[in-house]
């Protein structure tokens, strides 16, 4: 799942659960996840 796909799903789920106030936190978490996945210590199955 890409981060954008995850974020859209998470925002929809938060709305469904009556937690729209989660939006800025989920967006911030998405930014942190993007940074984490871009780090050079991640595994790469091609290497």
């Amino acid at each position: 799942m890409t981060i954008d796909q995850w974020l859209q799903a998470a925002l929809a789920d938060a709305d469904r659960r009556g937690l729209p106030a989660l939006k800025p936190l989920l967006e911030a978490l998405a930014r942190a996840t993007r940074a984490l996945r871009a780090a050079d210590f991640n595994d790469d199955a091609t290497k």
Binding site: A21, A32, T33, F41, N42
Partner: protein, 520 residues
């Protein structure tokens, strides 16, 4: 506002053994300070007045009979209300914990009792330790004794405030991202996060068991050392002799850690470094190459850990959480497993980089917090002309060492023009907390720019090692008469311990992420 002129634990111990003070007198002095200032500062959730008096009288009887338990014997201390004390609630500053009574002491409390410490009460905190300001508490916000309009830091805010306000000689807190060192910095005390795994976290309400630590807050490095050893069950240990400053090898990780600093905090940090250089320490610059990955690693592990612990109660009693804490916990439920595993890998990378930075140095030195204590209710703070989220700023320089497990110590480092404390952080090798403490003992007075807090030790203002420091003179501590906290008072109740009346939920501050791009 009374500010602490109390004895240090070392000074109290000397006077106790010289029969110049009793534990009962010292304990009464602390209870008087609680009675006088707790309503304004909101420092304690529970005051154990009668228990403390009984413990103090027993400590005095033991001293008279020749039974000396060691340096903490008879010393009144406070405990963060996240740690179990048998027979009383562990509230974690949350309505979620209503009705809880601890069945047994946490091992750390057992060790303190064996060391003869007198527990005066349980201190207020950020709900479930999930915050840096101690504002979001079911018992209302803790206030900074230096300026009650400001936060004491968090999450162990009540612990730090209790020391500065003279309500306890030391305190025990917990630290998951900086929750001992941040309030120590905001209030101007010493705060020690030991090496990960050294002090038991059993009997402590977890925030993230991966990153949780238990440790002391105290007036001096020597006192922190005494409480740290007592927490380990080593109650007879005395503070070690400091090593000479001359020849110490210190390293400053400037990139990232000194990029965003309040101007006055930076000036105090630089001045402390200069005093250390003048005293003969070698100060090198080093780099933590993956520093930019600290926040993503920390967030993915700590948020997921916290969400796991709270998953059931988020479903059944969500309304009992303060809104900011509830939302952070809910966000943690969305962390994906693959990202948690990536963060664990990042943790190892960061650990190796800090290990490498310390390979040629006795300690890393950096500011503890980029800002002084923020105003209560502030979501953002201006730092050198740039608006920054308060939470991000407060965690920025401490959370790495929760990720890596290295011991880290906050030491007062001057103050701003408004009189708010600044703090320097020293970091040592993993599982070598005592070595870090020896470095800190040597550096403490140079960092502070004041005479050594340890009698007989030199400092920058005392003309060198033989110059003599302050000797902990008269404080008026002997004047304490009997303090009545009997029936009908706010702190009365069964066995003299009652929970403060819960204040109505405060107006929730807007989450900082609503107004600024945040690091979560």
């Amino acid at each position: 506002m009374h500010m602490n002129t109390a004895l240090t634990i070392e000074e109290f111990g000397r006077k106790l053994r010289a029969r110049e003070i009793t534990s009962e007198q010292m304990t009464e002095q602390c209870l008087q300070r609680i009675e006088a200032d707790n309503a304004r500062l909101n420092t304690f959730i529970l005051v154990l007045a009668d228990q403390a008096r009984r413990q103090a009288r027993e400590a005095d009887r033991e001293i008279v009979s020749g039974h000396d338990r060691g340096p903490l014997h008879g010393a009144p201390i406070s405990i963060k209300d996240l740690i179990d004390i048998r027979g009383v609630p562990t509230t974690a500053a949350s309505r979620v914990r209503e009705g809880h009574i601890a069945e047994r002491d946490a091992p750390s409390i057992t060790h303190l009792r064996q060391a003869g410490a007198v527990v005066v009460g349980k201190t207020n905190l950020h709900e479930f330790a999930f915050g840096t300001t101690s504002e979001d508490s079911a018992f209302g916000p803790v206030r900074n004794p230096h300026d009650p309009s400001r936060s004491p830091g968090g999450s162990s805010g009540g612990s730090a405030a209790s020391i500065v306000a003279g309500m306890a000689l030391a305190s025990v807190g917990t630290d998951t991202g900086g929750s001992i060192r941040i309030p120590a910095a905001a209030c101007g005390t010493v705060g020690l996060k030991p090496s990960h795994g050294e002090v038991s976290i059993d009997g402590v309400v977890p925030m993230s068991r991966t990153f949780d630590h238990v440790g002391p807050l105290a007036q001096t490095v020597a006192d922190a050392c005494l409480v740290y050893h007592a927490l380990l069950g080593d109650s007879g240990a005395i503070a070690p002799a400091p090593m000479p400053v001359s020849g110490l090898r210190l390293a400053v990780p400037r990139k990232y850690f000194c990029d965003i600093l309040d101007d006055e905090v930076r000036a105090q940090f630089d001045a402390s470094l200069e005093r250390l250089r003048e005293a003969g320490a070698r100060v090198d610059d080093i780099e933590i190459h993956h520093a930019a990955d600290i926040v993503p690693v920390y967030v993915h592990i700590s948020f997921a850990d916290a969400a796991t612990y709270h998953a059931a109660t988020l479903e059944t009693m969500a309304e009992r959480y303060t809104e900011p804490v509830r939302l952070r916990l809910e966000a943690g439920r969305y962390v994906q497993a693959e990202d948690y595993v990536r963060a664990l890998a990042g943790r190892e990378v960061l650990r190796r980089e800090v290990d490498a930075a310390l390979a040629q140095h006795d300690a890393l030195v950096l500011p503890t917090m980029p800002i002084a204590a923020p105003l209560i209710g502030a979501n953002t703070v201006m730092v050198s002309g740039s608006e920054q989220p308060v939470r991000n700023m407060m965690l920025r320089l401490t959370q790495l060492f929760n990720v890596t497990g290295h011991p880290a110590l906050a030491v007062p480092c001057g103050s701003t023009s408004a009189g708010l404390p600044c703090s320097m952080q020293l970091v040592g090798c993993r599982m070598q907390t005592d070595a870090l403490l020896r470095v800190a003992l040597a550096c403490e007075s140079y960092i502070a720019g004041t005479p050594s807090p340890r009698s007989g030790l030199g400092g920058p203002m005392s003309g060198g090692p033989a110059g003599g420091g302050i000797s902990g003179g008269g404080t008026g501590l002997m004047s304490g008469g009997g303090l009545s906290m009997g029936s009908g008072g706010r702190m009365s109740g069964i066995d003299g311990c009652s929970i403060m009346e819960k204040v109505a939920a405060k107006t929730e501050p807007e989450l900082e992420v609503r107004s600024l791009k945040s690091e979560v």
